[in-house]
Every structure is written in C-alpha cells, then in structure tokens.
C-alpha cells in the first residue's frame, strides 16, 4: 500500500504531461495536446507555406498569439525597413496572420514587443498549460508553471494543423536554490551560475523544476529570467510551481481567466505543484548566498565566473574537451588567462532581450545608471522588451535617467540579443550584454559578448569595464 502511494506521487511536469496526453500507444511517439502557440516572423513563414501547400488549415486560431520582434528596427521605426529580405519576412508574417485569422501585434501595434515579454503581459499563458513556440526561449513561460518549450518550424506547422505534437517524455531534474540571494545578485546570476555548474548539455533530456526558498523569493519577472535560460543549460523546459505571486500577476490581465472562471482555474492551478515526496531523476543544489554577480568570459553560457574571479587558464580544466573549448574561447574573445574580470574593458552595453527586457530590469539598471555618464568610447543602448515596458519606464522617468547618462533609449525588439535587425557589434568589439547567448558571432561577426545582469551591465557602462557592484 505504501509503495503504491509512493508510486502515485507526481512531479509538476508529470501532472502536466499526463493531463495533455491525447494518444499514448505502443509503437509511436505519445501525442501531446498544445494549449498555446506563440509566433514570430523568423521561424513561422515556412510552416505557413507547408500548410498552404498541403491544403491544411490552422486548427485553433485562438490558441495563437503572434508578434514581430527579431528583425524589427529599434530606431526610426516610422521609416520602411531598409533590409529588403527582412522587410519581406515582416510582410509575410502580416499576410499569414491576416489570411489565417490570427492575433498579431505587428510593428506599430501598442502591444508589440518581444514575444516572451509580450505574452506574459497579456496573461496569455497560465499554469498547467502546454505552450510552444518556434523559439528556444519559450522556456520563459515555465515561470508560470506551464510546460513551455521551443520547437522547430516543421513542428510549428504540425501544431497549427493538429494542435498536438509527438513528444518523447523528458526526465525530471530538480534544481534547488536555497538561502538568500545578495541584493547585488539577481535571477540572471542564478541562471548563469546553474549553467556554469551543470554545463550547456547538463540539462539535455530533462525538464528542470526550480525549487527552494531563493526561487520562491523571486518576483514573477525574476522567474521568467531564470526559466528563460533553462535552454542554455540544455533543458527542454524550466518550471516554477505557481503560487500567490503567480495568481496575483495573472489576475485581471486580458487573457487571464475571467471572474466567472477564476475560482475554478485557481483550484486547478493549486493542484499542480509537485507532490511532497515526488521523485526526480536528478537533483542539483545551489546555495543562493554563494552566488556572486556572474560574468561570462567565453563563447558558451557555461563559461562563466563570479565578477571577483579571473579569466581561467585552459590548463585549469582537467577535462580535455573543456580545456580545448577554453583555449578556443580565449582566442576568439581576445582574453589572457588570469586577467581579473574587473580589468576587462568593454565597448558596448546592451540592456534588453527576452531574458532581461522587463520593467524590473530597467529599474535596477536605471538605479545604477543614475547620475553617471557612459564611459568614453562606450556605446550603451537600452532596448525595452515591449511598448508596454517602454511606456511604464517612461512614466517612471527611467528613460530620462538613461538619456542623461548618455544612453540611447530605443524602441522594443530582440535587437542586439541576436543582431538580426542591424543592431550589432563590429569585429573585435566587446559587449556587456543582458541577453542569453555568448556564442561566436551572435551579436555580430567577430563581436565578443559577456553575459551579465542588468545591474552589472549598467555599472560597466559607466566604468568602461566590469565592476564588482558589491563594492560600489
């Protein structure tokens, strides 16, 4: 009897998985139902084309919310897009949404912004949902206790046509972060510290559930930042159990359950957290108090160190692959082993992206930028994640703080996170960036990216190099 009870205890992932199984038959992949489908201009056009060629229709247009974010300019938005290929992609998105009757926040819509910033603003994702998007940072929405993951374009087409996806069940990993985070560290630093600890393939095959007091203490926006980077640790998705913060965040938003259904939805949401004693396939533990503000030094998000650390030497890695990766990264990054992180000069600062483009991020950064001046030779851009973030920041006077400090205050978009819209580094330029990936060429061919939190980025802008913000 005891064994049976034990076996029935489920993780949150298993609960969501079980409740979304449409077909589970031997000899084929389980078919999972999809509640919400998010879209942007880069990974959808070929899916619409496929649908059109096969004569299929979008099964549930109401499950889809689309935006334009990757290719959109962050300045002179009133002018036509100069890049003809990007322009065509934007026009194709608009046409596809029009023909199929899909809700689209196009470039000029007051709701426009980065998909993973816009979707929570409108309460489009709720706890317990299965959410997909042709974008790996879909993991963001795990902050709400939704199973949210990135898919390829063929799968985008599959979901449009069938509202389902053949899926393989993932293993579960619990990442426990207990203790109090220093006021100088943030969700971004937790995410980078986890990736540093388990590596970019550490989570492959897993869905991570983040637990522990430091996670409960995070705001909803902090949880979004954390889950956003689950993919950087290789995980299919990241999850945080819903709680009072989640419910309070959702209440009253456009697509949140209406008053009529609120209590029913709430009762369901409260049933979702992992059962006491549910078994995870793997567990990783971190102490929040140990997490210093992080800075990436290499070309993979696992190559990170605390701001008080130094650039590692290849010899310091016993693993041959990691040693070689370090050597390659240092050559690309133009760094010498044992350089103090705080001695690394920077040319560019980018605050924004689906990782750190929300209002709390700009508040923290503005606090740091207040009364400072961007260092000589440094360009600093603040790119809100959405028009709503931009408007809120302007109401609070944050734009003035940035502008007075010599920053550029831009229109929303993915911007320099992946540099598709013309905002990019030139060869050899070095950035302090609040985005999620420091891959070679990510922010422009030959550009060198250091991933940091918004506070760290703003401090670096004023100093012209990285700064241990705990000592300011």
């Amino acid at each position: 009897m005891q064994a049976l009870e034990y076996a029935m205890k489920k993780t949150m992932y298993e609960k969501i998985w079980d409740s979304h199984l449409v077909v589970d038959e031997a000899g084929q992949a389980p078919l999972l139902y999809v509640d919400r489908h998010l879209m942007h201009e880069v990974t959808s056009p070929q899916a619409f084309e496929g649908l059109r060629l096969s004569g299929r229709k979008v099964r549930n247009p109401h499950s889809i919310l689309a935006t334009m974010d990757h290719c959109v300019p962050t300045k002179n938005r009133n002018l036509p897009i100069a890049d003809p290929i990007a322009k065509k992609q934007i026009e194709t998105m608009a046409e596809n949404c029009r023909v199929n009757g899909l809700k689209l926040y196009d470039m000029t819509d007051p709701n426009n912004g980065v998909i993973h910033v816009v979707v929570p603003e409108h309460g489009f994702v709720h706890p317990g949902m299965v959410v997909v998007c042709g974008d790996s940072h879909t993991a963001t929405h795990g902050a709400f206790g939704a199973l949210a993951f990135g898919i390829g374009t063929s799968e985008v087409e599959h979901v449009m046509a069938t509202q389902t996806l053949p899926q393989k069940k993932s293993k579960t990993m619990q990442v426990i972060v207990n203790g109090a985070l220093s006021k100088f560290a943030s969700a971004k630093d937790i995410a980078l510290a986890i990736t540093g600890k388990i590596g970019t393939a550490g989570g492959t095959g897993y869905v991570i559930e983040y637990t522990g007091s430091a996670i409960r203490d995070l705001s909803m926006e902090g949880r979004m930042t954390l889950c956003n980077m689950a993919i950087e640790a290789g995980a299919r998705a990241g999850l945080v159990a819903p709680d009072e913060k989640t419910y309070a965040y959702l209440k009253g938003r456009e697509f949140a359950p209406s008053a009529q259904y609120w209590d029913q939805a709430l009762a369901y949401w409260k049933s979702l957290p992992s059962d006491q004693g549910a078994v995870f396939d793997a567990t990783v533990t971190l102490d929040a108090a140990d997490i210093a503000p992080q800075v990436s030094w290499g070309t993979s998000p696992e190559q990170v160190v605390g701001v008080d650390g130094v650039v590692p030497a290849p010899e310091s890695f016993s693993d041959e692959i990691k040693r070689q990766a370090c050597e390659n990264a240092l050559a690309y990054m133009g760094l010498t082993p044992n350089t103090q992180i705080t001695d690394i000069p920077i040319d560019y600062v980018f605050i924004g992206s689906c990782t750190n483009g929300r209002i709390e991020d700009f508040r923290v950064a503005a606090e740091m930028a207040k009364g400072t001046k961007v260092a000589k030779g440094v360009t600093a851009i603040a790119v809100p994640g959405s028009y709503h973030v931009k408007q809120q920041a302007e109401e609070e006077g944050l734009d003035k703080i940035f502008i007075d400090a010599g920053w550029e205050w831009r229109e929303p978009g993915c911007s320099m996170c992946l540099a598709m819209n013309g905002d990019e580094l030139t060869k050899g330029q070095r950035s302090a960036s609040t985005s999620n990936r420091n891959f070679e060429g990510r922010q422009g061919k030959g550009g060198r990216t250091h991933l940091v939190s918004p506070a760290m980025a703003a401090a670096a802008a004023a100093a012209g190099h990285f700064v241990d913000i705990r000592k300011l």
Binding site: L31, I85, A161, L418
Partner: protein, 203 residues
C-alpha cells in the same frame, strides 16, 4: 521527405564540441521565407574569409571532404536556438547523417523532420571514428538504417539505437502531420473533454 536509403559516403570530420546553431547557420541568413537554399550559408562565419573566399583552415573546405553525406562531430552538437534553418542548411549542403555522442534536444528533433539521421554513439566509439577519418581523409562509411548499422573500412563499425517511430518515418519518408491526423477523432474527443475541464481556456 525523401525516404532514407542505405548508402556509402565520405565521412567528414568536425572535431569540435558544442557546435551551436549560430555557427551552423548565422542569423543574417534567417530572414528568408523559403526552406531552400540555406546550404550555401552553412557554417558561413567559419567557412568563408571576410572577402568571401573559402577559409582553407575550415575542415569542411578540405577537398577530401567534398561531397560528404556523413558528418562526424563532437559532443552536444546543435546547441542553442530552435532554428530549423540549421538542419535545412545541413541537408541542403548534402549531409543526411550526423554521428556524435550527443545533440541538443530541439536540434535532434528537427533533424528527423528533415530526413537527417542523427546517430548517437559513445565517446570511445566516436574517438575511433574520428581517428579513422583523421588517418584517412576521404574515407567512406556505409550507413544502413534498416539494420541500424554503420560499417567502416577500418573495422570501426557499430550498431546504433534509434527510436522505432523516428526510424520508420525516415525509412518511409512519411509526413508526421499525416500520421497524427489519423488520430483526428481522438484529438476532437480530447478537445471536448478539455473544454469541460478547463472552460476558461476556451472562453
């Protein structure tokens, strides 16, 4: 999708780990609205010099690897973004098989949607294959999906595991969506129940 057939082909060596999707197909090529024509941009930033000429240092530019259909690469291949442009570029360039110890999740799924067989081997097996290619650039391997077997002239052949569903789809070249739509009645049933259980999602 073309059915995957048994073939003998040159195996190209890419002895790097964590090859990410930004390298496979850099973002400046993601703006197209078609699926075709990405092969010319595969590994662009590594493959070409600033003036557009071939970078002779880049492994796939070695004459011995021209025409390779098999790519043997280091751990965690395809990490990073969900862009299906990555497997589109790989397939369009001419590869239909990748051999590595591990792949990023989304990339792995995307491969099979595009007729690319992504084979997983253990580290010691990968080391043997890499050594065989390094010693004999231009060596041809035989890949037999039906029998889940790879053979090499150097005697480093092996059998591999693969999900039967993925295998079947590759061999038949069948469209996943068509397969799923065979269950359309179950999808409808599920939706009816879903509407009862979670009415706020449909309000």
């Amino acid at each position: 999708m073309e059915p995957y057939k048994k073939h003998e082909s040159i195996a190209a060596l890419m002895n790097r780990s964590n090859v990410d999707t930004d390298q496979i197909i850099p973002k400046q090529f993601l703006k197209k609205v078609e699926r075709s024509g990405f092969g010319q941009h595969l590994f662009h930033d590594w493959r070409f010099n600033d003036d557009g000429s071939d970078n002779p240092e880049f492994e796939l530019n070695k004459p011995a690897f021209k025409g390779a259909k098999i790519l043997v690469a280091g751990d965690n291949f395809g990490c990073g973004s969900s862009r299906e442009h990555a497997p589109w570029a790989i397939a369009d360039y001419g590869f239909n098989t990748i051999i590595s110890t591990s792949y990023a999740d989304i990339f792995y799924n995307n491969c099979f949607k595009n007729g690319i067989l992504a084979i997983k081997v253990d580290k010691s097996q990968l080391d043997k294959l890499m050594a065989e290619i390094a010693d004999n650039e231009g060596v041809r391997f035989v890949v037999d999906l039906e029998n889940q077997q790879v053979t090499t002239p150097g005697g480093n052949g092996f059998t591999f595991e693969i999900d039967p569903f993925r295998k079947g789809n590759l061999l038949s070249g069948l469209d996943d969506i068509g397969l799923t739509l065979k269950h359309v009645d179950k999808i409808e049933q599920y939706e009816q129940q879903h509407k009862k259980n979670y009415p706020w999602l449909w309000a």
